[in-house]
Amino acid sequence: MNMTVANLSRRRFLQTSGVLVVGAAVPGCSTGPMPSRNATLTPNVFLSMAGDGTVTITASRSEMGQGIRTALAQIVADELEADWSRVTVAQAVGDPVYGDQNTDGSQSIRFLFDVLRDAGASAREMLRTAAAAQWGVPVAECEAVDHSVRHAPSGRSVPYGDLVAAAAELPVPENPARKSREAYRYIGKHRVHVDADDVADGKAAFGADVTLPDMAQAVIVRPPSLGSEVAGFEPPPDEPGLIAVETLPGVAGIGAVFNPIGGVAVVADRTWTAIRIANALDVQWTEGPNAAFDSAEFTARLRESVQADGERLWDAGDVDAAFAADGAEVEALYETPFLSHAPMEPPVALASVTEGGCEVWAPVQDPQSTRNLVAQWLGLDTANVTINVTLLGGAFGRKSKPDFVLEAVELSKRLGRPVRVTWTREDDIGHDFFHAASAQYHRAKLDAEGRPTAWLQRTAFPTIITTFSGDAVDPADWELEMGFSNLPYRVANERYEYAGIQPGVRMGWLRSVCNIFHSFSANIFIDELAAAAGRDPIDYRLDLLGPSGILDVPGMQPPEGHGLDLARLRHVVERARAISDWDAARAAGRGLGFAVHHSFRSYVAVVLEVTSGDSGLSVDNAHVVIDCGTYINPDTCMAQMEGAVVFGLSLALHGEITMSNGRVDQDNFDGYPVLRMSESPEIVVELVPSDALPAGVGEPGVPPVAPALVNAVFAATGVRHRSLPLRV
């Protein structure tokens, strides 16, 4: 597959001509009189059909549990009218021929839906055309059905494989006809994930599962605070299996982009030898200004900053006059802590640097940026760098930052042999690109009916931009557009303000990013207003939302078809109310909490039911409704919502990273617990049927979960929590 890819135009992946590869797949096979079985139909980089009719679909996005390898293949196979049992999925290396490969922002399907439909349809049209020519009949009379082309008038049928050689000679159609929605056979239908069997057999290859001859294993003793340099260390006693101890330069501090943070690498023949020696190594450090970073002091500053005027994003109506009028006021301060991604597979990478080239095997979310960074690191042309993407054992944003790959590359270069760098769990949690801590301040003036007449909201958090530019302070527009500047509740007099503070650790995006804290505060504050007004929280929200239309947000121009559609938002609210039996009375000690959030172009409403009793709090069930527009694999969408509930409850109940003296106080799953089976509620998901444009699925389920929990605890106990994690 990769050989074929390299021969294709880098400019337009859908308009390359058919490639006839003879004898390439079967070494030693005759290329004589019967070439057809060795022909390959490769109309584009995403699919290839061999002469026996087997189809290889190349997934250009990284699989990290979101089912993308399956979903992408479903789209191509559907338009191709392929027999699913004859489809295998290959994984693309990092290469711009595939277009953007950055698996991030819940946008793979959104970006690739039409591209992959055309990829499958173009091959299907070439096969139909080849059959028509063979039979001397009009193409219009030839129908592609289940891996074959049929000619109904004559009753003839030919399997795809027999057409490959002829089809491969044809030009690739520029605008192949796409199937109608009614004709879909895989899109919108359940498929078991293509990797499920391999996972269950222990055969699926993750980052640490690729081995090379002569490979060495490295574990790195990392600096205590960001920006430290190695001052010295006592070399470990020589022992069998110890290969090298290498000092790696550090970074100046924040703004280091994805550069490795330095340390002392212990390289050995076995992973355990490297871990054991690294654990015993006593390294002295020269620390920088981040050695003073303290998260408690930092969050106090965040808290203060939202209680004073901030930078004004916009101001509508006359906020000061509205607040000066008579009437009830509600104000509240909300806080969320730093979080670590903690994917089950810690960062890991295998690199082999050879004369003039480099090959990497790693679980990366963005193999193209990885390739560029590796090429830059080694001073190579990207053409000489190959990034093989393994399965990702979870990522949640962590593995779009390939510092761990660069470490393996550097060590392989120095040692002249393949090196795998394994991050221990302590490395992972202690040296992450952390999700930002935040503070939010809300204040509203209510009229006699309890409706807000004035609204003031302030957000403060360290921007992710600090990872790319060390002097950045202000949040980026795209961070504010994650549930802050695009709240669906519009009030006549409203003011939105923000503040940024520089952190002393690396910031990164974590599943649903700033939506986590913006959805948290807004959904709880609306609940607080409803309580102040003596209203049902769902009724209250529906009253505040416009009945229909696209939300008009100052300064925001969402692409056509992707604006916040108030009717769709209301629909998920209503459906969540219905399926959770919201209006039925609950026993004492039980409570329902609601939250709704629009993010990554999708609409998600969540109802959580909790019980508060002598044995503490239990989350009994969750009802989730998502409208993600056109969906590919409904079961995957539901699984992502189930996972989002667990991820959201993890951060709501347990998630907290703190720093003292620049050092992260947590380092494993004891100090940084995540939700376990016994804490996991029953989860019911409803997927809204829709023919709207495809929208995000991997992330939008997370933001409503934590506020729904807080609101449920309030309903059950009357106690209002305003910070995470919940202390119950």
Binding site: V199, D209, T273, P346, R425, A639, N668
Partner: protein, 151 residues
């Protein structure tokens, strides 16, 4: 020194430092990469294997301690527990898949002990296995279905 034991019924011999955790002996010495490193402290369950039938965290099991014992890993599970693997796949349990070997090994031990496990049985047996993707509900379903098949 050489440690001898069986893995999924086949005799193996590993020559490695005795304190080497079984996890790394399986992965680095025997090339059996189905068993995963997750935390190194027996906190997450990703490395769960069965030793003489008992689910154990291989990251905290010294190689020397399995001398003469019978180790079962995920690679042998389809042969030993075909129904469990079948219901697991049918329910599309795995998301990223990384924790699933450990989950499956814990689940297989539960089903060997308990024909039709209750929710409480499942909570007790499975709460040592973390899944960051949140596949718990499907794990529960798959275990129950596999249990029903057996009875």
């Amino acid at each position: 020194m050489a440690i001898e034991f069986t893995v999924n019924g086949s005799p193996v011999e590993v020559t490695a430092p005795e304190d080497t955790p079984l996890l790394w002996a399986l992965r680095d010495d025997l090339g059996m990469t189905g068993t995963k490193y997750g935390c190194g402290k027996a906190l997450c369950g990703a490395c769960t294997v069965r030793i003489d039938g008992t689910p154990m965290r291989s990251c905290q099991t010294p190689l020397a301690s399995v001398q003469g014992k019978s180790v079962a890993t995920v690679e042998g599970l389809r042969a030993s527990h075909p129904k469990l693997v079948e219901t697991w796949v049918k329910n599309n349990v795995p998301q990223c898949g990384y924790c699933q070997a450990g989950q499956l090994m814990s689940a297989s031990a539960l089903l060997d002990d308990t024909l039709s496990p209750t929710d409480e049985d499942i909570d007790r047996a499975m709460s040592g296995n973390i899944c960051r993707c949140g596949t718990y509900g499907r794990i529960r379903t798959a275990i129950k279905e596999a249990g029903e098949v057996r009875t």
